[in-house]
Symmetry: C2
Subunit: 295 residues, 2 copies
């Protein structure tokens, strides 16, 4: 009987699955809804099974989840209770849950040493050195994740208030942000008081847009963010010795390179594959090898 391997890339908005054979050849893919194991573990379980079943169907196979071995890359993997709850209820023969960063690293750099920086709403750097994994940053926007979408958006709101008060010159960026709040600084403050990372992050594309048009405040904010990323990449290089692939991933990955230091920019390369491909490769590595040993 053929052994099947499932990779899952799950997050707050969608869940993607890939089905592979023992050689790691992807046979089919499937996609379903949100799979946030922290906020809604039962729905996450439903969508994980659904995406996996769709991957079987896309491969022209009748879904047999209980015969498949899976590696799931899920945000919230570091919260023990949620992981225990979900792991105990997964429909697969055997499965492990790793972080979304670990499958992204595997996809981006394959089996070699190297590092990725995921620059999206948050920022986290994941390094494989001498085969061992390590992450830095990624602690959240309140006290970490410099250069992240959340931090850039927050700096943009701050900038609009500095301009409102005449502490900084008013620029197009600040005008646009204030206009978005009815030119009422109190509305900016009320928003910021309760804003989640994604709420701040929604203001970040504006910063890149205005920076492209030469807006001094937007450029200064992005330079501040890029300096935070440069420092973190220096620390990454301190671990890797500057060896192996270095990839930026995440929503801001394509926007940042022109702002970061030349020493890092020239080291960047495109990811080899996506996180879903990384997940299925990890499933084959984890369970394919073990099955061989048993056989």
């Amino acid at each position: 009987m053929t052994e099947y391997f499932i990779g899952i890339d799950g997050g707050g908005t969608s869940c993607r699955a890939a089905l592979a054979d023992g050689n790691g050849t992807v046979l089919g893919r499937g996609k379903s809804g949100a799979s946030n194991i922290l906020t809604d573990p039962d729905n996450a379980l439903k969508h994980i099974a659904e995406a996996a079943s769709l991957a079987f169907e896309a491969a022209g196979l009748r879904p047999r989840l209980s015969s498949a071995s899976a590696t799931l890359g899920l945000a919230g993997n570091n919260v023990g209770d949620a992981v225990s709850y979900v792991t105990a209820r997964l429909p697969f023969r055997q499965a492990d849950i790793v972080s979304d960063g670990v499958i992204a690293l595997q996809g981006a750099i394959g089996d070699q040493d190297g590092a990725i920086g995921i620059v999206g709403t948050g920022t986290i750097y994941i390094i494989r050195h001498n085969g061992k994994l390590r992450s830095i940053a990624g602690w959240g926007f309140q006290v970490s994740d410099l250069g992240s979408g959340a931090r850039i958006g927050q700096l943009a709101l701050q900038e609009s208030l500095l301009a409102y008060d005449g502490i900084h010159p008013m620029t197009g960026l600040s005008e646009a942000i204030l206009a978005g709040f009815g030119n009422d600084p109190e509305a900016v403050v009320d928003f910021a008081r309760l804003a989640k990372p994604g709420d701040f992050g929604r203001h970040t594309p504006k910063v890149f847009d205005f920076a492209r048009q030469g807006d001094a405040a937007a450029i200064r904010i992005l330079k501040t963010g890029a300096a935070g990323i440069d420092e973190a990449l220096d620390a990454v290089n301190g671990i890797t010795g500057g060896k192996g692939r270095l990839c930026l991933l995440g929503g801001l990955a394509a926007l940042y390179p022109e702002y970061i230091a030349e020493r890092h920019r020239k080291r960047l390369s495109e990811p080899l594959a996506d996180a879903l491909t990384g997940a299925v490769a990890l499933a084959v590595k984890a369970y394919g090898a073990r099955l061989e040993v048993r056989a």
Copy 2:
């Protein structure tokens, strides 16, 4: 019958009252508990009356609150509902509620033009120019109040995580902060996620302490904070034309001068009087003058 005037300086931890005659001569003072009109207006009312009664007693007088005219400087004065509720229930003959900043300004610079910067858990600058009041900053630590105790404490926590990750060098400050959280970065993050301004601010004295000992991270954080204060004072000077008294008040006022720019440091002077004295002076100005006109 002698007209009496009451000044109130009320906040989250205590309520102070001063009683003056029509010449503004302070006859007695009193102190009672918290008077936060937002979180507990009834208790605030109780403590306002209590402090005022004690001021009468300290002057050797039987309390006659209903005969006195009062100016109350209270935090939360910008929240209309709370002000209406409290104003309608005050025990005085007539009274007005102004911000704690306005009585501080009156106390610090008297009747002349000038400005104050209140640098405590938050930061706000209040300016009197050609007799008109204006404030800048003071929007809260999420998107304003650069250099405030809350921001400095937040930067110190951030610094400890940057050091933990090897992004910045580990210094005594970061070591001390991490040790305070059991050397568990997750504990720092959990704290920061829910921290109120005062929670962050409690880490700020450590930053000044370590900076005095030459700690590079602490000095960098204070330079960042001082740069925010310098920029705001530049904006203040833009309004005042650099004329009139300029006073720093608040919990960090005595600590900051050595870090701020020379152009501002040389302009600083000691406040003429405290906020309570400012409140009673405003009461005499507001109601003493009016009574004279009527007489």
